[in-house]
Every structure is written in C-alpha cells, then in structure tokens.
Symmetry: C2
Subunit: 624 residues, 2 copies
Amino acid sequence: MNDQERTRKIEKLARLIRYYILVITTKAGSGHPTSSLSAVELMTCLLFGDIFRFAVDRPEYPSNDRLIFSKGHASPLFYALWAAAGKLSEEDLLTFRKFGSPLEGHPTVSFPYTEAATGSLGQGLAIGVGMALNAKYLDVLPYRTYVLLGDSEMAEGSQWEAIQMAAHYKLDNLIGIIDVNRLGQRGETMEGWDLPAYEKRVSSFGWKTLVFDGHSVTDILAAYRQVLGVRDQPVMLIGKTIKGKGVSFIENKNGWHGKTLNQEECVRALGELGEIDKSLRGEISRPEQKMPKATSPSGPVTQIDYPADRPVATRKAYGNALVRIYPQFPAIVGLDGEVGNSTYAEIFKEAYPDRFFEMYIAEQNMAGTAMGLSRRGKIPFVSTFAAFWTRAFDQIRMARYSAANIKFVGSHAGVSIGEDGPSQMGLEDIALFRTILNGVVLYPSDAVSTEKLVEEAARHEGIVYIRTTRKETPILYGPEERFPIGGCKVLRKSEKDVATVVAAGLTLHEALAAYDILSHEGIFLRVIDLYSIKPLDEEALREAAKATGAIVTVEDHYAAGGIGEAVCSALAAEAVPVFSLCVGEMPKSGKPQELLDYEGISRTAIVKTVKEYTAIAQKRGKPA
Amino acid sequence: MNDQERTRKIEKLARLIRYYILVITTKAGSGHPTSSLSAVELMTCLLFGDIFRFAVDRPEYPSNDRLIFSKGHASPLFYALWAAAGKLSEEDLLTFRKFGSPLEGHPTVSFPYTEAATGSLGQGLAIGVGMALNAKYLDVLPYRTYVLLGDSEMAEGSQWEAIQMAAHYKLDNLIGIIDVNRLGQRGETMEGWDLPAYEKRVSSFGWKTLVFDGHSVTDILAAYRQVLGVRDQPVMLIGKTIKGKGVSFIENKNGWHGKTLNQEECVRALGELGEIDKSLRGEISRPEQKMPKATSPSGPVTQIDYPADRPVATRKAYGNALVRIYPQFPAIVGLDGEVGNSTYAEIFKEAYPDRFFEMYIAEQNMAGTAMGLSRRGKIPFVSTFAAFWTRAFDQIRMARYSAANIKFVGSHAGVSIGEDGPSQMGLEDIALFRTILNGVVLYPSDAVSTEKLVEEAARHEGIVYIRTTRKETPILYGPEERFPIGGCKVLRKSEKDVATVVAAGLTLHEALAAYDILSHEGIFLRVIDLYSIKPLDEEALREAAKATGAIVTVEDHYAAGGIGEAVCSALAAEAVPVFSLCVGEMPKSGKPQELLDYEGISRTAIVKTVKEYTAIAQKRGKPA
C-alpha cells in the first residue's frame, strides 16, 4: 500500500469508527462520544497505519505493542478500534455499558484487549512506565507502549511523576499521545489549545516532543514514524484536536462532555459523516517474533535461619525473604520509594540489582509501574512506609479492577515507630487494604512468619498487602512452622482461659507479655496471632470466642476498618463481647513503649481490660 | 544595619542555629541534622534578613508572612530558627522529640509557629497555594507565603500540581525555596546537583526561577530581594546546598540521612562551628498593619423548599445548601476538581464566583489548598467524586494533624452510579474518612437532610466528610426536621418489629421499599436513617437492637470499614446478630437497580435476609 492509499484507507476507517462511536453511545444513552471523536485520527493512524504491531488473535503475545487508554472515558473509541480491527461485531459493540457486557463504561480487563483498567484519570502513563521498563530492562523485547492521554488529566501530578521517571530510565519505547481537545468536563482546561505549554513542560523533563494537527492523517503518520527513530528518550506526541470532531453541532462546544446524542441528533450526525463502509476492516501489522529473555536466578538458595534469642525487625526479614525466595519466583521485581534502607528492600536490591527499580519519592507512579509490570507477567513487590500507601490509594483501588498481581509492603506501621511522630505512622493502612475486594492483608509478628508470609504472598495470585514493623521483635516460631493465608496461630491456650486476646505485629508481643503477667496471678488468656487479617480465620475466632467467652483485640492502628472491626464483624452472630484496644488518642512523638501505653494498646492496657471484664463477668455470675 | 553588618549577623546566627541543630538531635538520639544543616543559610536569611515579616508574639496575626517547612524532617532547623528569634529557650529545644513536647519529630500544630503539619513529603507547596490564594483573592492581604522544599520531594507529583496551579492563579505572593542538597534518604536524587534541570522544569510551568549558592548569605539575600519585585508569577528559589553543611565529616556524605551524631561526634562537630554567641537573637521585621477584607455576602437568604413529591439528588441539594448557608457562614470557600457540574459545586460557583476556585483534576493539590485556606480561617467545602478522594488520602490524613477545618464532599457514591463502572464508584470512602481521628462522616438520604447536614458541617469545627448520591431520591423530611451530628432517624417503628434495618443514602430508600413489601405480609421492620456514620448514635442502635433482636445493615460500599462494621463494633457488647449487606461482588457497568440487586443491597436482598432470619429465629423459638 502506498502512502496515499494508506491515508485514504485510514480516513475511511476513521469514518467507520466515528459511526460506531455515535451509534453505541446513543444506544447506551450514556458515555463520552465527544472525547472519543477527538482522538479518532490519533488512534486510527496508530493502529492501522503500520505503526502498531500486534498479533490480533493473541492479545497476550509478549512482543505485542501495548496501548493504554489513560483517558478511559474514550472507551467508545477504544472498542470501535477493535471492531474496525475485526475483533468485535457491531452487535457486540451495541452491548456497550450493559450489565454483563465486557464493554464497560470505562475499560476493564473483562475486555481482553484492555491492558489495564482506567477511568480514574492520570493513571495510564505510570502503567505504561511499568510496561516499558519491562520491555527495556527485564524481558528485553522490542515492543513499544503507547498511552493515549487526555489534556485535562495532564493536571494530575501522577502524570509528572511518570514523565520524570520515564526520562530517568530513558524509556525510548514509551510514547504518550496527548489529545489536546481543549475542553474538560465543565469547561476549558488550564492550558486550552496552548500546545507549546505542553511541549515546553514535557520536554523540560527530558522527553522528545512533537506537536501537530491531531486530525491530519499525514501529519500524524509522519509523527509516529519519527518516533520510531528516537533513542534514549520517551516521546510525547501532542495533537491539537477538536472535541466532538466530525459532528458540526457538537464540535468544540462546552456542555457536551459525557453527554450522548439523542436518536434524532444521532441521525443528523451520521448524515454528516458521509458514506460508511461497514465491511471495511483495518489491518494491524504483526509483531516481531521474539520471546522474553529467560531469567535464571543465580543467587544461592538460602534457608530461614534466625537464632531464637536474637530479635529481628519484620521489615528486615522482608528483605531477607525476598532474596531467599527469588530463585523460586524469578518473576519477582522489587520496587521501592526511596526508603529501601528503611523498608529493607535494599537487601533485595543488593542481591539482585537487575531486578530492582528505584522509584524515588513518587508513590503514585510506583503503584502504577507495579500495575504495568504485573500485567506483563511480573510479580512486583513494592515497598514504602505504610503511611505513604495512602498516597497511592487510587492506583491501588484501580489495580483491583485490572486483576493485578501486586504485593504491597508497608513498613513503619503504627505509633510504635516512636519519635518521628504521626506523619510517619501507618495507622490507616489495614483499613485501606481491607477494602480491596478479594485482597489479602498479612501482618507478621516475627522474622520467621515474615519470611513465610512473603513466600505465601508470592505464591498467591492477586493483591497482597504485608504490614511490617520498625522495631525488632523476638523470634516466635521455628523454621518449619506453616503460615497459610487465611490462618492464625493459637500461641497460648488452656482450659481455664477467661478471654482471648487477638493481636498481630508488635501488639502480639504485648499480648504475650500480658499473658505472662496475668498467668502469675492465675488468670489465663488465650492468645492468637492474627497474621492473616484478610481473609480471616473466622472458624478459629468463633471457636476461641465460644471457649473463652470474650475477645480482646489489640492493634497499632486506628479503630475504623482495623483488626477490631474485622473481628467484630466476623463474630457478629456470636453472643460474645469484643473489646477493641486500638489507637484512639492523637498520636505524637515519644518513645515506642510510651506511645503504646498512651494509646492503651500495651500489655498494661490488656491486663486492665481483662481484669475489668472478668470482675464484671464474675459479678454477673458468668463463668470467668 | 548596613548590608555588611546584616551579613555578619546572619552568619553568626547561622552558627548558633547549627549549634542548636546538632545539640538537640544528638540529645534526642534521632532526627535529621544533615537535612537541617543544608538549609540553614536559606532560612536564616529569610527570617533575619529583613525579608520575612512577622509579628513574633502573634503567630495568628493575619498579615504575617507564612513559612511552611514542606521538608518537615528539617524540624530541628525550624525549631532552632524560632529559638534564634527568642521564642524558644535552649531548654525548650532540648525537649525535641520527647513525649509531650510541642517540638515533635516532624512539625505539628502543637507548636504554635507551625503553619501546617508536614512530614509526608510533597505537601507543603499545595498548602502554600491555599495561603497565597487567600492573601491574593480573599483576605486581600500583603503577606507572602514561603515554602521550604527538599530536592528529593520534588519527585512527588503533588508538587507539580501545586506548581501549575500557582502559576494558573498568578500567585506572585508564593515563594518556593528548593534546598538542593543532592542526597535523599538512601542515595542521590534523580537530578543530583543538576540545578538547571529544576530551573527548566519549574520555569516551564510559568514560574520565575532564581538559581544561586544556597550557602552564600549575599547571594541568598539578593535573591530574596529580587523576589519582592516579581509580579503575577510565583517564584522558585533554587539553592545549591551541601547536606550536613558546616560539619566536615558528614558534609555531602551518603548514609547520614535521619542519623544523628553521637556525643563524641557532636563535640567534634561543635568544635568545627567556631565561636557561638548563645545570647545572640535575630530580629524579624514587623508585618504591615492590615486586616483582612471584610466579606459581606450579598446574595438572597433562601429557605429550604423541596416539593415533597419531586425527587432530588442529594448532590444537587449540596450545591443548593452551600448557596443557602453562605450568608450565615461567610468564611466558606468552594473548591472543586473539575467536576462541579457533577458534584453541583457549580451552583455555589455561579452564585458566589469570588468564593470559588476551580482546582482542575488535581485532587492532592485541592486537598492541600483546602488545608492552607483552613489554616487562614476559611471553611473550605471541597468536592469531587467520592472515588477520587482516594487520590488525596495522604493529604487528608495529614490534615488531621494540622487541626484542619475542612469539609470534604464526595459525590457519585457506590455502585448505584450505574453505567460508568467501577472506576467512578466510591466504594471505600466511608472506610477512609472513618479512619480520620475525631472526623465526622455524614451520609444524607434526601435533599432536606443534605441541606441540614451541610449546615451542621459548616458549624462543626473539624474535618467532615459528606457523601452524596448521583441518583435522584424522594424527599423524606419536612423543612423543620433537625439533623444533629451523631444522631439518627427512626423512620419506621412498631411494637411488632422483627428486625432493624440500618441504612443511609440510596439504600435507605431500598430499606423503606423492603418495609412496604414486608408490612403487606404482616412482617414489620424498624428502619433507621443512619445519616451520621461517625459519630454513631450508639444508644439508638443499642435500643433498636434490644427492641427488635436483630440488625440488618445495608450499604452501597465495600464491607471493610463501612456501615456494617461501624455498627457491629458499636454493638460488640450486645448479644444481637448483625447482618451486613454490602458490595461484595466485583462491580461492573449496568443499570443502578440491576447493580443493587447484583450486589445484594436492594429491597429484594433485604426482604430475603429478614425472611431467612425470622424463619431461623422462629425455628429456634425466639420471638420473631
């Protein structure tokens, strides 16, 4: 096909794609036709202009180019492209936004050509960074990652995190395409059609930039071809476009975001498009036949070996564990947010520098990058302080809708970090990660269980959160102990137990200390290590509740969404009182033990709670 | 004082400040001396070089300049500056990081000169945007806002959100100061000492930039003086500095972040400083005598007036409410993240354009800006989709440590938004906001209660979250009904109630529908509108639990941290079963009612749950 023929075919395909966009959004009665129409040429040229390389019948093929719609609301365009490629029929398309259809309002992975679920803006470029890092440094594959960006979403800081990181890692296989259609949801963007503003900013971070008319097939193709020659720099294509392009009465008009044409308007609009060839199909070029570089972990396989009498911080055991299990799980990749010497991700980095990426202080991009790596078959272990995962929670929430396989690790949990004060204390992380549908939340109390749980996390397909502790804690378990996800450990148990204390992490050691104090007075407690906060070992909890008659939960975390509430709701049907000890006073700087006492989550508080309860229970004549 | 004298005095003060930094961090045994030492000249020149204007005995004085330590770990420098200004004794300083001291590890508002708690990096500039917006557009005061920034934290996207927004609003009263000391926590920053990289990037967003030697008093003073003449642009001062400056054996050395000198090292270091004049005090120039511009809301005072038979979306009532109450609460400022036509913040914007700031799609900066406005006496009402507050949760969490008075509003809660799909569904927001210590979470079910609760929120000092719904809901209440924070409404009640259904928002209407269905069959329910999810009306819940014997919670939210868990933990001591109906299946696109059924949170699910429970209870011989 010569260039003229190609241009004519793309123009025809663009008309077909516009037809699909209009028809399916009008049928659905909701969706974003105008935001789709502006990017039609940008995307049609990419897919059908001999730029994009993709085995259309094998979306998972490793050397396929990747296309992420960061502006997920342009889903009508996304689906229309795959219809034009012959992978969806018009009938399929007409299920758009209907219950049970894989063609959801914003792309999710229920549609097999979706690389990652989008719709919360400003997330696609970071995911692209993950995919591009994978191609350049891990799988060593020739694929390129293209990310379609809206101009409105360039206001999100996460974009600039991704921009700086892509330049830092010289990702010449990452191409952003900004669809500068001037209009956001409720009016003009900050920059409007000031394309040089975008150019100046993006290039100031070290990207190659190209500005052009985003509706001129010739200009767009020329820009894409130029991209192919760029080395050591990511490239941003900045296209000037018109929102609603192709339909005169909605073009460049405010008030048409997320608004569909009614039936009559749709007929008028289709009339403007000109002749549509519904039998036309675009061809996508085939990818290079190349498979990922094999990884053969060469490090020594080590055993778990912690002297029983020497306390070790679980955060340190995390680093050790990663190194130990990597030979078994060569898909592991380590990421850390510039605190690797605190989270101990640095232990892994030092052992396997090629499998580690420093993500600097940019947690949103780190979570997005992990998402991209996960979708390319890696098992990212991603660490920062527990407190700072609050920074990336939108990305974490969205990862669930992409069926991500990511292991998040949060160190420095709770007030027990001490003197650094509240800004550094992870006190909401359990609540956050417990909201992740089907997610797993693990909270080890000693080095051995940390090692085992890191291994369980690697084996588990899905999102796992591991909470680690700053302070050193005594070794509780032998190296043969098993820690299945969803289990718990009963560490103290007798026939005379008056209550069950449920704890994890540092507070488990407080519970054990409370046990020692009370047992000297002849009061016995059951003590449970709740290392798996989600899923919860409900059976074991119910059993302990029935056997001992009361539950005391103790956690270095706020009440809401924490261990206490998890246990309470698991036991909602049982007539057993649950006392929740948790962080409830304004946290501040101080020594760890001072703060545990201040918050009422120390051994002293446990002893007091148990004594008060047993006194009342005895008064009431209950067995105590 | 001539320039030479001033320079010499600043140099002497800098030595004293270095002395304080070293002594207090060594005494505390933790903290960040090296990150403090690098910025000594930058800050000493600002405070004591006739640049900063501040009534030292009146930190709240409205036309004081403002200084925010975004790199909060440089707190030793921050406190040392105020000691040098005569506001702290050396004895005070030596309480640094001790339990109960206002001089916490990272600044919090327990120290009266702290403008906002920092320590989670990348937050200070956005707070500065809020303070600068206030000075320029609201209070119309001549104060300037200075923000000390670390070079490492420039990797945070939130910085670039603030940078673009400050330029957009032409905040010539906002001055950032980047302390480019090259080293982060675990090694070199992405840019190291490449100062032109910072200059190029920041200036590409429209800022005036100045680059200089960050240890040269002459150069620094010259830069600050140049700032005073800049118009319509924010200014970024970019100083090349040395981490650990002044102590030869830690200068520019990796491995000294967050590490203190031991006693012997401290003595050596002090020896290097030269003569210290402990009696020396710096003088801060006095501010202009000017008071904030008075606001006299001129709009008409309207009454709540919703026809009983016409459904209204609570999100719309939110917009109406703001307009209605503004004359009573003239400190209100509206902010919205480019979705004002969805959250209906636009109703307020249209009525009071001078009291509204468009914050575009940059939620982190929006939360930070609200923080800054709050600290300057405003009552920011800040809105976006409930789902997108996950984006700013680190800022929200930190706001608590600044004693913020902010009203967050999240629209489009739950699966009931329908076709747009999971990316747009707020399903974790209750959990998130419930973790905020002493925070308030409100969830109105009709337009009238929304109006009342917006008013309660404005009156309440502190962080309040208001959850609104996309769909229109019937009017439930008359205009005279009261909705105190911490209360609830019993909407259906009889002697024969077999269970209590607790719901809020859209699911309350499902509960009322379930009541209608069941009452036709002679089965009666108590129905509670839990409009105040935090604080919870525990007494009313306990009473209902006792009276009816069972509780069913129904919410358009995930289980973790939601209404079900809140109610379960409130009733942990009661022997009453709690059944929690909530979102538990992977959400998807569909019609609202389809999705309520799919998730088991519709009237059908409530009816089924109640029938199953009563059948079992009857079998067991319980009264049902």
